[in-house]
């Protein structure tokens, strides 16, 4: 009876085809259409194309000469590096620490995961208030610590030189910090799950051989966690390429002075605000290509050893 299930492929197809059809209609077909759109002149979402661009590769030429696109790419690459180093790095350290404690592990799991369930829009508004120019939480704290210069005018008015956390000198920190903070919990949970799958007898054997905590982490935990880490890195890299909501709520269209673009925010602005749908499509293609290339590179670089 069981063998019949594997011999008759029709039931398998019946279950596979709906999912495939769904993906085809809502992912692969739009993606192919999106590539086609990059060669057309489309002046608004839903509008028909007004012919082929002149020359047909005009959007790709613009992609490589557009200074704002260069800024967006530079910022996004920096975000990827920060994501890998800080998001996954901090998540790994927290996971290792929580894994070693016996009491309260569940509490910390919940606490660290919590930011994930809050909407990015709410977080963006919250961080906007935290970094607000006049009277924001950070600036008030700095003022009370005497870190912000101020003077009192003859009319008794106190003039404070508030720190602009969105200016050219600080915007990257202000933009990246909430993104890092929000997703640390996501990678933390994945890594903790990976740590739980490592057999305890390996640690017990190592302890009998005299290995201390650091050595157990270095020679048992990290090598056996490599697969999970690799997954986290691929997710972090592709996730950073698509980051949009938090930076958009906090920085809008390229604040400050068109230096704050990310690939995601620039694509949105071109498509929905500037009605330049074909160029927005071209940026989307670049994001997909970068995602595929970088995740493949990450897979190769962090591929686990065959010996494990």
């Amino acid at each position: 009876m069981n063998s019949m299930i594997y011999k008759k492929k029709t039931p398998l197809l019946v279950f596979l085809i709906p999912a495939f059809a769904f993906l085809f209609v809502f992912l692969y077909y739009p993606f192919c259409q999106n590539i086609l759109n990059t060669f057309l002149n489309i002046g608004g979402l839903g509008r028909g194309a007004e012919g082929v661009n002149e020359p047909w590769y005009e959007n790709y030429r613009r992609l490589f000469t557009d200074p704002y696109m260069r800024t967006a790419l530079k910022n996004t690459m920096l975000l990827i590096v920060c994501t890998v180093v800080f998001q996954v790095g901090i998540a790994l350290i927290l996971a290792l620490l929580v894994d070693t404690i016996r009491v309260g592990a569940q509490f910390f799991r919940t606490v660290y995961f919590f930011p994930i369930v809050i909407s990015a829009t709410a977080l963006g508004l919250m961080f906007n208030l935290i970094f607000l120019y006049k009277g924001g939480m950070v600036n008030q704290l700095l003022l009370s610590l005497g870190k912000l210069p101020y003077e009192v005018r003859p009319n008794g008015k106190m003039i404070v030189e508030w720190l602009d956390w969105k200016d050219q000198a600080h915007f990257l920190f202000t933009m990246f910090l909430p993104v890092m903070w929000q997703y640390v919990g996501f990678y933390f949970v994945i890594l903790v799950t990976g740590l739980n799958n490592i057999p305890q007898d390996l640690y017990e054997a190592a302890a009998l051989d005299g290995a201390d905590g650091f050595r157990r982490t270095r020679y048992i935990t990290l090598p056996l966690l490599c697969n999970v880490l690799c997954t986290c890195l691929v997710l972090a890299i592709t996730g950073a390429l698509k980051v949009f909501d938090l930076p958009w709520v906090m920085f809008g269209a390229g604040i400050p002075e068109n230096l704050g673009w990310l690939t995601g925010t620039y694509m949105y602005d071109q498509t929905f605000n500037r009605m330049n749908v074909d160029y927005g499509s071209t940026i989307a293609v670049l994001i997909v290509v970068l995602g595929v290339v970088l995740s493949n590179v990450a897979n190769r670089v962090f591929r686990p050893s065959e010996d494990l």
């Binding site: 607000l132 005018r153 106190m158 508030w162 602009d164 969105k166 809008g252 400050p256 002075e257 500037r274």
Partner: protein
Amino acid sequence: MKKTLALLLALVMVLSLGTVAFAADSVTLNVVTSYGGDDGNRANFEAAVKAYEASTGNKVNDGSATSNEEWKAKILTDFETGSEPDVLFFFTNADAEPFVTAGKVVSVDEIRAEYPDYATNMKSSMMAVASDGKQYSVPSSGYWENMFVNKAVLADCGIEVPGPDYTWDQFLSDCAVIKEAGYTPIACSLVEVPHYWFEFLVMNNGTVENQLDVPASVDDAAGQKWVAALEDFKALYEAGFFPANTLTASDAETVELFNAGEAAFLIDGSWKVGYFTANAADLNDFAISYVPAKGERSASEAIGGISMGYFITRKAWDDPAKREAAVEFVSQLTSDEVLSTFVTTEVTALVNGASPAGLNVLQQSAADANASITAISGAVQDTITSEAKGDLFGNIQNVVTGKMSPEDAVASAIALN
């Protein structure tokens, strides 16, 4: 027992059929307006919608939001993708042309063929005419743009509230005094809402009569006027008259700066009166004044008119269940009684005029200022495409910081118009 159960089931079935029949009589209208967010007429709009629902038994799905370029783009996209609302309160200028020319809204004449009383309380001469010569929208209240002043800040700096003879040189001199006293002279986010200042700076470099001239090239008269306006922007920025964070601040931040008594001048529209009425600690600290003038312009010349109206979409009109509901909704929302609750100092197209209730101190100040207005023009930004507008206003930050010349900014906008 079985009989009782059968009876109960039959009763439930009959009742549910009755509910369906009742529900079928009730129409749900999808309505989108700009009376969202902190709009001063939000409460009046909600009250009017409730009254409509109570009188007709219909339901209104209110998709209202704050009007900005993103909102306009979303509305146009909804029309393009076939997900437009049944009734739309929207701009009647070039912004509406895409869905007007696509035949996605119904003309007033077509509606009157079936409902002869539709919008007959409006002056036909004041109803917007589209590029095909037809009228499609029923106007609500008009608007004005002028200069709000914080009287407390001016008093602390020893400056009088400006009158209709306010000159540009006097304004620059006042700004220097205000800055020296530790206040911000002009509350404006150059990165988010430079358009109010743009309109008046353009008028300052031209006249109220040629305000709506759109440049065909940088070198023509209108192009030179726009270039000069951008140069004025740069001069104000370099003098430090805008907030220190004007290139990173949101509109809400700079308005709050003004509201909190940290800034002296704010150019905004009639809709902002409601904001200060609701949020000002002391409404007596605020007044409506005049935007300083130079060249041929007088400070008593301002921006204003009727720029928005109610459209009934073709989708709703062609739906027999929604046609009457949509017509009734627009008729109620534009009735003399309802519009009188929306209006304080704005112009209307009502044949009988509006009868607003008692004015508060700021509304009275606006009424006094409007009484001295000698000429009015629409906003030139309403006559150019969204792409050109987005590009022009997006480049103002580049102009004031010297990253782009005013000529290049104007040329870039012209190319997209």
